[in-house]
């Protein structure tokens, strides 16, 4: 019996991948023009049935827990809870873990930056895989901020996506080795999320 895993990322748009035992994608689907909640179940089912599989053939599932869309990540949490009930091994990691997962020996501090919606950007200072400092700044202040720092900046819609595309097998293998389970990363507290932007 093959050891197959599922990859789910709803932080930007819906991304689903089926992974073999060597952590290589057998198939990968990305949908950005429809609401995640409308299609997530049918797309997971389609991905599996296209390969002649069912949910019970999965041995594990990898989740990207953000940072990203609040609603999208809620769906990820729901699916993760469902898989846990079916005794499917669940692993999770963050976008900003990727540089550290790829190069754990490197102790250099780096910066992760992403759009936090509501006209703001999230900035995290990461060292040894841990968040040292975090900050939300207005999008208009981002160019000024970028000029003042010397550390490498990783962005989801830039180097980080490309690094994941290049070395995703290494990332997923390390997440599995570490048995990494992370909670959802929210940009703000729930109260702030329910407050509309000014």
């Amino acid at each position: 019996m093959k050891k197959l895993s599922l990859f789910i990322d709803t932080s930007q748009c819906l991304k689903l991948g089926l992974i073999d035992s060597s952590k290589k994608f057998i198939s990968f689907t990305e949908i950005s023009d429809k609401k995640c909640g409308d299609i997530i179940h049918t797309e997971i089912n389609k991905l599996l049935t296209d390969q002649g599989l069912s949910l019970f053939d999965l041995s594990s599932c990898f989740f990207l827990m953000g940072p990203g869309s609040y609603t999208g990540l809620r769906f990820t949490q729901g699916i993760m809870d469902l898989f846990k009930m079916e005794n499917i091994e669940c692993y999770s990691f963050y976008w900003f873990d990727i540089p550290w997962l790829l190069n754990p020996q490197n102790n250099d501090k780096y910066i992760f930056m992403t759009n936090a919606f509501k006209g703001e950007s999230l900035i995290l200072w990461i060292k040894d895989g841990e968040i040292e400092q975090q900050k939300l700044i207005l999008n208009k202040d981002v160019p000024k901020f970028s000029e003042t720092i010397s550390e490498k900046i990783w962005k989801i819609d830039g180097d980080l996506s490309n690094a994941f595309d290049r070395d995703y097998a290494q990332v997923l293998q390390r997440v599995e080795d570490l048995k990494s389970i992370k909670p959802i990363y929210y940009f703000r507290s729930d109260i702030e999320e329910f407050t509309p932007a000014l």
Binding site: S22, K24, F28, S32, D33, G158, D165, R166, A169
Partner: protein
């Protein structure tokens, strides 16, 4: 190896196993099937050699038979492609339908992006990345990342891609089929200078698209 169509290791190993098994059992029907398969594999696996230039690690060839319709900077498409230039190629309607490795590289994986199909006729692609297409991620030996996006139109079928993630392909090896004036958007890192012009006709293994 340069003039071969892609055949997965699995297919080749299966063929060898069936041949050995049939010889062992002396099953003439199986031997006949293997012979027919072998002849067909020879005819189609050995392609007409169209590679006219020696492979060089610094050169990027065209992945399809077609025409350059646009050359531009990746930042126009999205922040993710800021470090890339792109070349839009329209597949030639009556030419070979294959997609070929533009250099020897690892086939990292390919993803299907679901969305609306493009309408023809088109002079250039829309900026929107949400149209139905397939994206192929290739990794050169120097860990450089290349993206090939395949946009099918109303008159073209969806591309069929043969390799699986982690396979390695040599320059000019066919790794898929894509017919009917589909559009290929090829992202090349900015350290390569683009050597083709809009309107130029290109053939795989013959026309250099970019050079380091």
């Amino acid at each position: 190896m340069n003039n071969r169509t892609y055949l997965s290791y699995g297919t080749v190993i299966l063929f060898c196993l069936v041949l050995i098994a049939s010889l062992y059992m002396m099953n003439w029907y199986l031997i006949l099937i293997c012979l027919v398969y072998g002849v067909l594999a020879f005819l189609f696996y050995r392609r007409k050699n169209f590679i006219s230039v020696k492979e060089n690690n610094d050169i990027v060839f065209s992945p399809i038979f077609g025409k350059v319709i646009k050359v531009g900077g990746g930042a126009d498409i999205g922040k993710r492609y800021a470090d890339f230039n792109f070349i839009d190629l329209r597949h030639a309607l009556f030419e070979d339908i294959g997609i070929f490795f533009p250099f020897s590289s690892e086939f990292s994986f390919h993803r299907k992006i679901k969305g609306n199909r493009l309408f023809l006729p088109l002079k250039k692609l829309p900026k929107n990345e949400k149209n139905l297409h397939q994206e192929i991620v290739l990794i050169k030996e120097s860990s450089e990342l290349f993206f090939i996006k395949l946009y099918s139109t109303f008159v073209s079928s969806q591309a069929i891609i043969f390799p699986t993630s982690g396979d390695y392909g040599y320059l000019g090896a066919q790794f898929g089929v894509f017919s009917g004036a589909g559009i290929v958007r090829f992202f090349i890192p900015k350290k390569y200078s683009i050597l083709c012009q809009e309107g130029q006709k290109v053939t795989p293994g013959n026309n250099i698209l970019a050079k380091k």
